[in-house]
Symmetry: C2
Subunit: 253 residues, 2 copies
DNA sequence: CGTATCTTTGATATAAGTCAACAGTGGTGG
DNA sequence: CCACCACTGTTGACTTATATCAAAGATACG
């Protein structure tokens, strides 16, 4: 399965005030002092290779990250190696909040592509709560958003058929990717293998392959460049019976 | 399936300072001012009938609740009525945080037994963040804990076999119930039907029944008084390959 | 009692898993 | 430059887990 530890810290490049993500319409405006405070907390940037493990279950990481660019996924393993992917991470998402708040990590995170991460010290989290209630509230908001996504994923894995699940998953990822500007060429390209999809949907690799083929036959997706190209996101949503993300603007930390 | 709306507000009975839950060893000590503040926020108590809907998907509830006594569950529905139970709620758990933070509820909550709830105003949430950073942090902690439980549930539904899932579920609920003192008679009694279990595990009712029977044959559980009696929690954990909850003390809001 | 809600069971159907083999791809080292 | 290897995707044959259907017992309840 995975994965070598390929990291390299790079010197700081983007001050938060000129963060390329912050200008996207999905993210709410921050007050000057909030932004300055965040900027002060930022410790640097971390470049991560594709396939590298960012965080590992059982560890007590001293860091908290925000994805600047690239894709990753969160997962848990059963004792015998069966893997369940819990969610995907893309630009603007926080990595490691659970571990920061509660201590030990209970899941692992692996990069799906080369990534650039903003690094924060775990210890500074409390400082946010003391000095910037608005930002503290934002962090709770972010945790609630993750919970909401997990609710949806659990509904899908528990109650949808294989093809509905696959359609939901692609539509879900594509919807999220779109709002953070990951559709440069107009159609979104998700850098995952069919094994990842299988481990997300709770299906076997072979059955996943046959299911994906059906989506391709229906002209909803294509498989190219070692990943999934999204052709008809509305068709996917309809097939899955999924309403889509009901999100307005959100905070970026 | 469900369920009538049976609520009745009762006049206030327990001031937070004499909350019967707070003295349990699972809950961390609160400072006097924290406790006073919480007590001030508490608006009253709400008695809910078994089977009643506490919160409904799509609504904008003005309230946030803490379970004083009784059991409930969170769930989501697909358009055609398929139901997925996401998690269970028992004394000490918060109800409706997601909705309070993000606005609209994206799941429903139904009582499994008669319940008593502490009622808080949604609007006062921000006040907590402004005046009590420690409590604000606790709320994020609680949200992270819920996320963690969902991670485990998703792992289970996605990757465990039917009997492993059932064993995990019972062990999981029983472990949580034990630490909040729900084992008066020593052995824990979970007030659910097999339909609830089916909708939690993502299985059909018939298959769930046959699976539960296997657990009974193995002397791990019994079915009595319209609910599940937990006989051998260690045996269940072993069958599921589950390590158990790794929780220390937690906040009670 | 009579009715509704749960649980149980057997027979059958279907979705998904497993096994096995092969084809395309890209990388690496001789 | 080629041979080899690892990884990914594809397919068909077969097995198994789980779903569906149908009916009958239990059990609680008014």
């Amino acid at each position: 399965m995975p994965s070598q530890t390929g990291r390299s810290s790079s010197s700081r490049q983007y001050p938060c005030e000129r963060c390329p993500l912050r200008s996207l319409p999905v993210f709410r405006e921050f007050e000057k002092p909030e932004l300055a405070f965040i900027s002060k907390l930022k410790k640097g940037e971390l470049a991560v290779d594709k396939g590298a493990t960012v965080l590992v279950e059982g560890s007590h990481s001293a860091h908290l990250y925000t994805v600047l660019s690239g894709w990753a996924f969160r997962y848990k393993l059963l004792q015998d190696g069966r893997r369940q992917i819990l969610n995907y991470l893309m630009p603007g998402d926080l990595i490691g909040l659970q571990g920061s708040v509660m201590g030990e990590m209970q899941h692992s995170v692996e990069a799906l592509s080369p990534m650039l991460l903003c690094v924060f010290e775990r210890d500074n989290l409390l400082e946010i709560y003391r000095n910037h209630p608005g930002l503290a509230y934002d962090i709770t908001w972010i945790a609630s958003r993750e919970e909401r996504m997990l609710d949806e994923n659990l509904l899908s894995v528990g109650r949808r058929s294989a093809i509905e699940r696959a359609a939901y998953l692609v539509a879900f990822i594509a919807s999220r990717a779109k709002v953070v500007g990951l559709n440069g060429t107009q159609s979104i390209q998700i850098p995952i293998t069919q094994q990842h999809i299988a481990d997300t949907l709770g299906l076997s690799l072979v059955h996943t392959n046959k299911t994906i083929r059906k989506l391709m036959d229906r002209q909803l997706i294509v498989w190219r460049d070692g990943g999934c190209g999204v052709v008809d996101i509305e068709g996917l949503k309809q097939l899955a019976g999924w309403e889509g993300l009901a999100e307005g603007r959100r905070p970026l930390i």
